[in-house]
Symmetry: C2
C-alpha cells in the first residue's frame, strides 16, 4: 500500500501509531454500542475497513483487552465484553466512592474558571428543561450536561490517577446503558439535576464532607436506577 503523506484522509498522520488510532475508534463504537456486546472482532474485517494490514489491528485488540473492553480467547479471537446487572452494581459502588472522593477534593481545590463551568453545566440545562422540546433532544442535551458536570469536578480534584481510575471504570460500561434508564423519564432527570445543584453548592461552599456524601449518594441512586431499568426493560440487552 502506497502512502500519501499529504492526503488529509483519516488514516495518515494522526497520533503516531495506527494501533492507538484503531483502538480508540473501536472503543468509541463499543461505548456507544454501535458494536453490540458479544461481537467477534475479526482482524481481517477491521484491517480492510481501515485500509491497513492485520498487524496494527492485533495490537489495537491487545490494547483494548488490557483496558478490559474485549476478551481475547486464544486462537479464537477478540470478543466485546458485556456486563451483567451484578457488574453494573459492582462498578457503581466503586465509582460512587471515587467520585465522592473527587467531589471532596474539588471542594478544596476548585478554581473560579472551573466553578463557572460546573455551574453552567446544570444551569444551561435547567433552562431547556422548562421548555417542552422533543424527548430525544432533551435526553441528548442532558447526557452532555451530565458529562460536563462530572468531568469538571473530576478535573478540579487535581488528581490525575483519580481521573484515570474513574475513566477506566466508565469505559467498562457501555454508555447507552445508563442513558436508557434516564432517557424515558423526565422525572428521573429532574431529580438528577436537583442533586447536581446540591452537590455544586456544597463544593462552592468548600464543604468537602458534604460534597463527598452527596456525590456518593448521587452516583449510587443513578446506578440503582440503571440496574432497575435493565431488569425491567431489557434484561438481556446486556451480556
Amino acid at each position: 500500500m502506497t502512502r500519501e503523506p499529504h492526503s488529509s484522509d483519516e488514516k495518515t498522520s494522526y497520533d503516531g501509531s495506527m494501533s492507538e488510532r484503531v483502538a480508540s475508534e473501536l472503543q468509541h463504537r463499543i461505548i456507544l454500542s454501535k458494536i453490540p456486546v458479544g461481537t467477534w472482532l475479526r482482524h481481517d474485517a477491521i484491517a480492510r475497513e481501515f485500509g491497513i494490514s492485520r498487524t496494527p489491528v492485533r495490537e489495537a485488540l491487545r490494547i483494548m483487552a488490557a483496558r478490559g473492553l474485549v476478551t481475547i480467547e486464544p486462537h479464537r479471537g477478540a470478543r466485546v465484553n458485556g456486563q451483567s446487572v451484578q457488574d453494573v452494581l459492582e462498578i457503581g459502588v466503586v465509582r460512587a466512592d471515587l467520585e465522592g472522593l473527587a467531589a471532596s477534593l474539588a471542594a478544596v481545590h476548585m478554581d473560579d474558571e472551573q466553578a463557572e463551568r460546573m455551574t453552567s453545566a446544570w444551569s444551561s440545562f435547567a433552562e431547556t428543561l422548562e421548555q417542552t422540546g422533543p424527548r430525544e433532544e432533551l435526553a441528548e442535551h442532558w447526557i452532555e450536561s451530565n458529562e460536563l458536570f462530572h468531568s469538571t469536578i473530576l478535573e478540579a480534584s487535581g488528581n490525575k490517577y483519580l481521573q484515570q481510575a474513574i475513566a477506566d471504570l466508565r469505559r467498562k460500561l457501555p454508555h447507552n446503558i445508563s442513558f436508557g434508564a434516564y432517557a424515558g423519564s423526565s422525572r428521573l432527570i429532574a431529580r438528577n439535576m436537583a442533586e447536581h445543584q446540591m452537590i455544586a453548592e456544597a463544593i462552592l461552599a468548600q464543604d468537602a464532607l458534604k460534597a463527598r456524601d452527596l456525590m456518593n449518594a448521587h452516583i449510587r441512586k443513578s446506578v440503582e436506577a440503571t440496574a432497575h431499568w435493565i431488569n425491567r426493560k431489557a434484561p438481556n440487552t446486556v451480556r
Copy 2:
C-alpha cells in the same frame, strides 16, 4: 526458528499468547525494579532474549502502555515510567480511599476462612518480630505478610472491579519504593503491624465504618512514610 512442542522450556505452551507472557514477565521486572525507570525497551533485545520475533514483543509493549507501565513515544520506543513524589502521594490518596472501601465491604462480607487467613497474616509475623533475626529476612517476611493481609481483605470485599482498580494502582508504583521506606525501620514496621491488628479487629466486629477509617488512615500513613523516605534517602531514585 524451529519450535519444539515437547520441550518444557518456558516459551512454549503457556497462557496462549506470547505477548501476554512477555508483558507479565517485563511487568514483573519493572515492579521489582530489575529494570530501572527511564530504560528504553528495545524490540530486538527483548525478542532475542525470549527467543521470539519482534511482533509479539510489540504487542506486549502496547499492553504495558495501556496498563500505564511504559510510555510509547512514536518512532522512538517504549520507556519505563517512573513516578515523582507527587505521583506517589496522588496514587496514595486514591488507594487509601479504595482500600478503605474494601475494608468496609469486607467487614460485612468476610467469611470464616478469609478471617482465618487475615488473622494469621499478622499473627504469624508478630512471632518473628519478637525473635531478633537478620534485618533482611525480617523485611522480606513483613512484605509477604503485608501482602497477604491486604489481598485477603480485598478478596473479602467481593467486588472484582474494586480489586482490579486497586491492582491497577499498585502496578503503578514499583514495589521496592515503599519497601525501602520500611526495610530500615523496625519501629515503622511495628506501628504498621499494630494498625493491621486494629483493622482486623474492626472487620471481625463487623464495624464497617471503623474498618474503613482505620484502613484509610493506615494507607495514608504508609504513603506519607514512603514519600518522606524518598525525599530523604533517595530523591533521584525515582524519575
